[in-house]
Symmetry: C2
């Protein structure tokens, strides 16, 4: 395979491209994704979630303001462009086939790649008091993280659906407790063997280890793991408490205190891979018991 070739799709699974962790998705895989979206719609049907489709880029200022940059500097993709003059470009142009550093004068833009689907929603709550009237969002987006590995399911570009709430501390803890009960049952009904693990995000650098341990002790992040390829177990969903992090950053409240937030995140490709691993690539052939949960 040359650097610019792409392999044909095999058995409904994502097609690798020359970029590790970046795949093309064939029709049958997309049918699984559509079924999953329908299944999550079903999970969200009992509350009035505000639905938003989120683009794969976001204002850099929003991500800086959210504190993401210092937490995951190695995972954030920044978007750069050539903002020079035609004369300056004329000097770089002969290198533009990749034979040299045509990108020597790229400068950073005002957008970055979206690291998680929920980031744009917190800013819409500025100024609100959510003590008795929590906010609920149902968002979907394609996210990007500059992951080093290229094992199956370890994607750099991936689709995420999130259910998000903002309100009082008690509301957020109760809301997440509901998902902690419901999601293992839901994934189990889909035929997946699921484990629930207390997790920490892979914080950067040795100075972060203490914080990660503290995060684990507070049980802020629960991950639901499943087998996405032979011998490879990954988190396919997570239920998270952010405490007052976003309320503090974006100025929304629960009474006299900053508002709390919580989210339930679904990794669409990973759940799809796990389902294909168990039931095969073509959803038309899946057990009716599984399809009835999703439709």
């Amino acid at each position: 395979m040359t650097e610019t070739e792409t392999r044909p799709a095999t058995a409904g699974r994502p097609t690798p491209t020359p970029a590790a962790g970046v795949y093309l998705y064939p029709a049958s895989f997309e049918r699984v994704i559509a079924l999953l979206n329908s299944g999550i719609d079903g999970l969200a049907a009992d509350s009035a979630y505000t639905r938003l489709h989120v683009p794969p880029v976001i204002a850099r200022a929003t991500i800086e303001h959210a504190g993401y940059v210092n937490t995951f500097p190695q995972l954030l993709g920044t978007v750069h462009s050539f903002a020079g003059t035609p004369k300056e470009w004329a000097r770089l142009a002969p290198l533009s086939d990749g034979s040299g550093d045509w990108h020597a004068q790229q400068s950073i833009s005002d957008v970055v790649l979206l690291p998680a689907a929920c980031y744009p929603v917190y800013a819409t709550l500025t100024g609100r008091d959510l003590a008795t009237d929590p906010a609920l969002f149902h968002v979907d987006a394609t996210c990007f993280r500059q992951e080093a590995s290229a094992e199956p399911g370890r994607l750099r570009s991936f689709r995420m659906v999130e259910l998000v709430t903002a309100g009082s501390p008690e509301h957020c803890v109760r809301w997440r407790a509901g998902w902690l009960e419901r999601i293992p049952a839901w994934l189990g009904a889909l035929g997946l063997t699921v484990s629930v693990v207390v997790a920490d995000d892979p914080f950067f650098g040795p100075g972060r280890k203490l914080y990660a341990a503290a995060q684990r002790m507070q049980e802020l992040k629960f991950e639901f793991t499943a087998t996405v390829a032979p011998g490879i177990v990954q988190a396919v969903a997570s239920a998270n408490l952010h405490k007052d992090h976003f309320g503090d950053a974006y100025g929304f409240a629960s009474g006299d205190e900053p508002g709390h937030t919580s989210c339930m995140a679904f990794g669409l490709e990973r759940i799809a891979l796990a389902l294909i691993e168990v039931h095969g690539p073509d959803p038309d052939g899946w057990p009716e018991s599984v399809l009835s949960v999703l439709r």
Copy 2:
């Protein structure tokens, strides 16, 4: 509106974010997008298109190889990340809230933002002779172009569906001629007032003007324009001939010559905006004649 605030959605139209040309999409707008996808599925139903969902990033090598960089250096978004050591990050970390150049050590990665949905498919054809057996693809993706303007519909992040074919020169000319007839009728049946214009892409720099004129004379690009906001007319779709550009770059053939390619591109947000401009934001209230074309 502060730098990190986002306005609430109004009347089903996209919600601005702090980044110009980057919007959030409310539920009713997404219903319009879903209807459009269904309508395009209908248009494509008479041939066996290979369906692929394409992620919003693509291998930089693929885009360099396709000759995109020198044609549109000012529009391409490159993805950069921090690949330094924790010690190097420790010096930048205090600036990571946006108070300074925390991004001073970002380095270019192996991916760029996808400028058009069709770019990954040409590489899948390497080595094939398409003289009597043309290839057909139906792809969808979120694309990015670093556009300067922020008028409605002039998006930087936008969704595109493309029907793509590769084969003999005659096949590609005939295939596009079919769309040149069909698309104005289709957009007309949707209630849009459409013009067909011979166009050239906004090539960069004064040296490009002659090439753009030559492109216009060869009628390689036809755009279908419609009103997307009061007084604002934009291209909502285009039918393009690339001649042997991609066959030459990716080594697929039509007999003894490089294969030709052609594509029919749909700008989903722009068509949606044009439809909303005519029929209102809620598709439930649209004329049955329009809905029947899309369903």
